[in-house]
């Protein structure tokens, strides 16, 4: 075989492989029976119902393979204790630790409650803006996802998130965050935290739908979002939110 012919043929083959690979990749990306443009997800959280059992945190870690150490969270629960001398203490609860130890005398407590937190799936996400490689983006159904293959682990987004919802996964060295359990909701299941919540403190649903538990939650409660002044427009809304919650 002539050198020229060899080069010619190999170039043609390479081109064919490339085209086929592209087509294959495109075909695989199609999800059956799921139209993301028909959904727009949000969550409602009833603070008065949260008992701080930490089942949601546990379930989230099990479902999404989040490291077990107590400083990697996709969702976490904060315990607010507002004391009579106006001191405010916030702790992230750890379900694995026996909570018989109580740091406060009960008579000193003015009011106290639990606040479950997770990624707010903002309408205007600051984390997406700052990513230098465009690894994080908003899907058509309103969920912010991170492409772990593209993420370079620069931690800009972790700094940018005003809610502290992101963490650097120590195994992949990439940024990770709550996805509303994207692999579950696209199959019609509830996010793991909503599924296991024993008191239905979390309500998941479509923001746009008129008849759904989430719509009812928004109709029946006085609702609020975290840090509204930042204009991030979170899709996670809270009822019974105390002014001390940051």
């Amino acid at each position: 075989m002539k050198r020229r012919k060899f080069i010619e043929r190999s170039l043609v083959m390479l081109a064919q492989f490339g085209v086929m690979g592209g087509i294959f990749r495109r075909a695989k990306a199609e999800l059956k029976d799921y139209d993301p443009s028909k959904h727009y997800y949000g969550m409602g959280i009833q603070i008065n119902k949260c008992i701080g059992c930490g089942k949601c945190v546990e379930a989230c870690k099990a479902e999404n393979g989040v490291p077990k150490e107590p400083f990697f969270f996709r969702t976490w629960v904060e315990r607010y204790v507002i004391k009579k001398d106006n001191g405010v203490t916030v702790q992230s609860i750890d379900p694995r630790i026996e909570r018989s130890y109580e740091a406060f005398a009960e008579k000193d407590i003015l009011r106290s409650f639990f606040v479950p937190k997770l990624c707010n799936q903002c309408e205007n996400p600051p984390c997406v803006q700052v990513c230098p490689v465009g690894a994080t983006f908003k899907t058509a159904d309103g969920v912010i996802l991170v492409d772990a293959d593209r993420c370079i682990g620069c931690r800009y987004c972790i700094q940018a998130c005003p809610y502290g919802a992101r963490y650097l996964n120590p195994e992949t060295e990439t940024a990770d965050k709550c996805t509303f359990c994207y692999h579950r909701i696209t199959k019609g299941l509830l996010p793991a935290c909503v599924e296991v919540c024993p008191t239905q403190a979390r309500i998941f649903g479509d923001v746009k739908s008129n008849a759904s538990p989430l719509a009812r939650f928004k109709r029946m409660n006085k609702i609020h979002v975290l840090k509204p002044s930042l204009n991030t427009e979170p899709k996670v809304t809270y009822s019974d939110l105390d002014g001390e919650v940051r």
């Binding site: 081109a15 059992c53 089942k55 593209r150 994207y182 008191t199």
Partner: protein
């Protein structure tokens, strides 16, 4: 080979080399770098594909109902809104392969006390106990059926719940009176105490049966019901469970 190159002018070879470099760079960018890293749309699709293809670990409680009888018991009890997997852990594998993988059956006290230990941050009305004094070391399941949790038996005495009132009454002049002398207690009050309440005396003549001037009762302090205390009900000034001199 040397002859082959010498047949062309030097400049042409250089241009050729640059051209080859250019072409290979294009080919590299075009075919070697995966398209999901260049094309925004492809990148989004690839990430969504990766997220949605993750395995589900929590099956959802609808799946449990197909096989497990307990589901029908649970749906009528206080734990009706609790997902099975809240206590039994992720069970997707079990639902697909029921004989080989079994979900956990939590039998220790810690499993229940995670939610039911008294904590001032928990919402008022949520059933809570102090595990240190509440039948210590006894597993909860010996008295309570977790699929239909109730107090192990309907309390016979009022003081089982109203201990504080019972204690003050014990040292008050009303010690001889049964609770039911003044309160009518519907049977349902023992089952759903917050929804069905015991009655409290609604008018002055009730107390007057013993305390008015013309009452046949002996050794009771007596007042003129028609003038004493004007328009107020007796218990608005006199707390009947408390020892009082006046």
């Amino acid at each position: 080979m040397k002859n082959f190159f010498q047949r062309f002018p030097d400049s042409l070879i250089r241009i050729g080399a640059v051209f080859l470099l250019f072409v290979s760079a294009i080919l590299f960018v075009r075919f070697i770098i995966p398209s999901s890293l260049k094309n925004e749309e492809e990148h989004v699709k690839a990430t969504i594909e990766r997220e949605t293809s993750r395995s589900v670990r929590y099956a959802g409680s609808d799946v449990c109902a197909d096989c497990h009888e307990e589901y029908n018991v649970k749906k009528l009890g206080y734990h009706r809104n609790l997902s099975c997997e809240t206590c039994h852990g992720p069970a997707k594998e079990h639902s697909e392969n029921p004989t080989e993988t079994k979900p956990v059956v939590p039998k220790k006290r810690e499993a229940c006390s995670l939610c039911h230990t008294y904590n001032p941050s928990r919402p008022t009305g949520f059933p809570q106990i102090n595990p240190v004094v509440h039948n210590p070391l006894k597993p909860c399941v010996t008295c309570h059926n977790p699929h239909d949790p109730k107090p192990p038996r309907v309390p016979q005495e009022c003081q089982a719940c109203h201990a504080e009132i019972a204690r003050t009454k014990a040292v008050s002049p009303h010690v001889q009176l049964e609770c039911t002398t003044c309160h009518t207690v519907p049977q349902q009050h023992k089952v759903i105490p917050r929804e069905v309440k015991a009655s409290i005396p609604g008018d002055r003549t009730f107390c007057g049966k013993c305390h008015s001037k013309d009452s046949p009762a002996k050794e009771t302090p007596k007042v003129d019901i028609s003038t004493h205390g004007e328009k107020y009900l007796c218990w608005q000034c006199h707390y009947p469970h408390m020892p009082e001199v006046e």
